[in-house]
C-alpha cells in the first residue's frame, strides 16, 4: 500500500524546513502544501486544532504536529534510510537536549533582533550570540553535530541559517565574525542537496522580514 504523506508548511518557517530536510534525507515522496497563515486552511485547523500551526505532517490521514516530534517520527518510521538520531541512548539524550535548547532560545532571541530596537534589540543580539557560541562548543571539531554524519541536531539547527542574513541586517552585526565555526558548519550542510533544496534564499527571507516589520510598524 502506498504511503500518503502531506506536509502543510509555510516557506520561511525554520520549523517547516526541518521536516523538509528530514523527508529529503530519507528520499520520502510527499505532497507539499503552502499555507497562507492569514487564511489558514480547513485542513490545517482540523489536523492541528490545539495549536493551529504549521508544520503539520499528515501520514495516511493521521496528523503529526510539532517539528521535533515530526523529525523523530520520520526517523522512526523510515528507520532504514539515513538515520538521524544516534543509536546510543546517551548520544540521543545529548542530541535531544541541544534540540530542546535550540527551541527554547534561538527562535526567541532571533525574533528580538528583527522585531525590537534599542536596548531590547542589543540584549537579543547578545543572548543570540551567546547561544550560538554554546552550540559551537557542542560542535567542537566534528564536521556535523551528528559526528561524521549529518544528524538530528544538524536538521534542527541549520534552518535558522536561512534567517542569519536578515538578523545581521536588522541588528547591524556579523554572525560570522562571532561564530566562524558555526558558519563553516552551515555552509558544509548546504553542500547537501536535502538542505539546499529545503532552505529558502537568505535575501528572500530578508525581504519577508522587511514586510513583517512594516506590518508590525517597526522601523
Amino acid at each position: 500500500m502506498a504511503d500518503e504523506l502531506v506536509l502543510l508548511d509555510f516557506w520561511p518557517s525554520p520549523f517547516g524546513m526541518r521536516v523538509r530536510i528530514a523527508l529529503a534525507e530519507k528520499g520520502i515522496k510527499h505532497e507539499y502544501r503552502e499555507e497562507d497563515l492569514r487564511n489558514k486552511s480547513a485542513l490545517l485547523l482540523q489536523m492541528n486544532p490545539v495549536h493551529k500551526k504549521i508544520p503539520v505532517l499528515i501520514h495516511n490521514g493521521k496528523p503529526v504536529c510539532e517539528s521535533l516530534i515530526q523529525v523523530q517520527y520520520i526517523d522512526e518510521v523510515w528507520h532504514d534510510q539515513a538515520p538521524l538520531l544516534p543509536s546510543d541512548p546517551y548520544q540521543r539524550a545529548i542530541a535531544r537536549f541541544w534540540a530542546d535548547f535550540v527551541d527554547k532560545k534561538i527562535y526567541d532571541h532571533g525574533t528580538k533582533i528583527w522585531r525590537t530596537k534599542g536596548e531590547e534589540q542589543e540584549a537579543g543580539k547578545k543572548e543570540f550570540i551567546e547561544c550560538l557560541k554554546l552550540l559551537e562548543g557542542e560542535l567542537g571539531d566534528k564536521p556535523y553535530f551528528g559526528g561524521e554524519n549529518f544528524g538530528f541536531l544538524d536538521v534542527v539547527l541549520v534552518p535558522f541559517y536561512s534567517w542569519f542574513h536578515a538578523y545581521e541586517k536588522c541588528g547591524n552585526f556579523s554572525i560570522e565574525a562571532e561564530c566562524p565555526k558555526l558558519i563553516a558548519w552551515a555552509k558544509r550542510c548546504l553542500q547537501k542537496e536535502s538542505v539546499s533544496k529545503s532552505l529558502p534564499d537568505q535575501e528572500k527571507v530578508y525581504g519577508f522580514v522587511l514586510q513583517l516589520k512594516k506590518v508590525f510598524g517597526i522601523e
Binding site: 490545539v50 501520514h59 493521521k62 503529526v64 504536529c65 510539532e66 516530534i69 515530526q70 523523530q72 517520527y73 522512526e76 518510521v77 541512548p89 546517551y90 540521543r92 539524550a93 535531544r96 537536549f97 530542546d100 535548547f101 554554546l134
Partner: protein
C-alpha cells in the same frame, strides 16, 4: 548495578524530578537521591552537571549527566530496555504522547501557575478558564490514548501518564488554595479516576508529595516571588 551508579539530583516538591524517579521505579532501578535545597545556593555537582540551565532534575548515570525531565524519561526507557516499556511502541502513538507532553509543559502547566500568581479576581477567573479548557482537551486525549484501558499508556503507566501525572500534586494544591475543583465528575470524569489510579500506583506513591506539605511550600514560594527575588 551498584546503587551509587545512578543518581538523581532533585528536590521533593519538583514535578519534573518526580518524572525521573517514577521512570526509574517502573524499571526497578535503584538510585541515590541527592536533595538540592531550593532557594539556597545550588550544589557544585548541579552546576557541573547542568552548566547550561543549572536546573533539576539531573540524572547522573555513571559519570554521564542527562538533563531535562522528558529527555531523562526517554533515556531511562532506552537504557533499561528489558523493563516495562514507557514510550508506546507504535510511532504514531509515540508522536501523540510526545505532543501532549510538550503541550503540558509549554501551555497547560504555565496556566496552572498563573492561577497562583493571579492578582485580582478577573485575572484569576481567566487563568482558571484556561486550565479548564486544557483539561477538556486532555480528557479527550485520555479517551483516544487509553482506548478503554486504565492509563494513557494502556494497562500500565506510560510516558504521558508520567508527564501529566507529576502535575497532580500541584493541581491538588491549587484546588485547595483557590477552593475550586479543576478535576471533577461533571467535567473530567475519566481524568478524575485516572488521577486516583496514577497516584496509588506502586511506582508513584512514594515520590508524590503530600498535598498539605506541598501547599505550605507553595505559599512560601508565592510569598518569595511577590516579595524580594530569591537568592540566585
Amino acid at each position: 548495578m551498584a546503587k551509587s551508579d545512578v543518581k538523581v539530583l532533585g528536590s521533593w516538591p519538583s514535578q519534573y524530578v518526580m518524572r525521573a524517579r517514577i521512570a526509574l521505579n517502573i524499571k526497578s532501578v535503584s538510585y541515590e537521591f541527592l536533595e538540592e535545597k531550593l532557594w539556597e545556593s545550588k550544589s557544585e555537582l548541579l552546576l557541573k552537571s547542568n552548566p547550561v540551565h543549572k536546573k533539576i532534575p539531573v540524572l547522573i548515570h555513571g559519570d554521564k549527566p542527562i538533563c531535562e525531565s522528558l529527555i531523562i524519561v526517554q533515556y531511562i526507557d532506552e537504557v533499561w530496555s528489558s523493563g516495562p516499556s514507557i514510550l508506546p511502541s507504535d510511532p504514531h502513538e509515540r508522536a501523540t504522547a510526545r505532543f501532549w507532553a510538550a503541550y503540558l509543559d509549554e501551555k497547560w502547566f504555565p496556566s496552572i501557575r498563573s492561577i497562583g500568581m493571579a492578582q485580582g479576581e478577573d485575572a484569576r477567573k481567566t487563568a482558571i478558564a484556561q486550565v479548564e479548557e486544557g483539561l477538556v482537551l486532555l480528557e479527550e486525549a485520555f479517551g483516544n490514548c487509553s482506548k478503554g484501558k486504565p492509563f494513557f499508556g494502556g494497562d500500565q503507566i506510560g510516558y504521558l501518564d508520567i508527564a501529566f501525572g507529576c502535575f497532580l500534586a500541584w493541581l491538588r494544591v491549587t484546588e485547595k488554595i483557590s477552593g475550586i475543583k479543576l478535576l471533577s465528575e461533571a467535567n473530567t470524569p475519566a481524568l478524575l479516576n485516572w488521577a486516583d489510579r496514577f497516584c496509588s500506583d506502586a511506582a508513584v506513591k512514594d515520590v508524590m508529595p503530600d498535598t498539605e506539605k506541598l501547599a505550605e511550600f507553595g505559599k512560601m514560594v508565592i510569598a518569595k516571588m511577590r516579595g524580594a527575588a530569591p537568592p540566585k
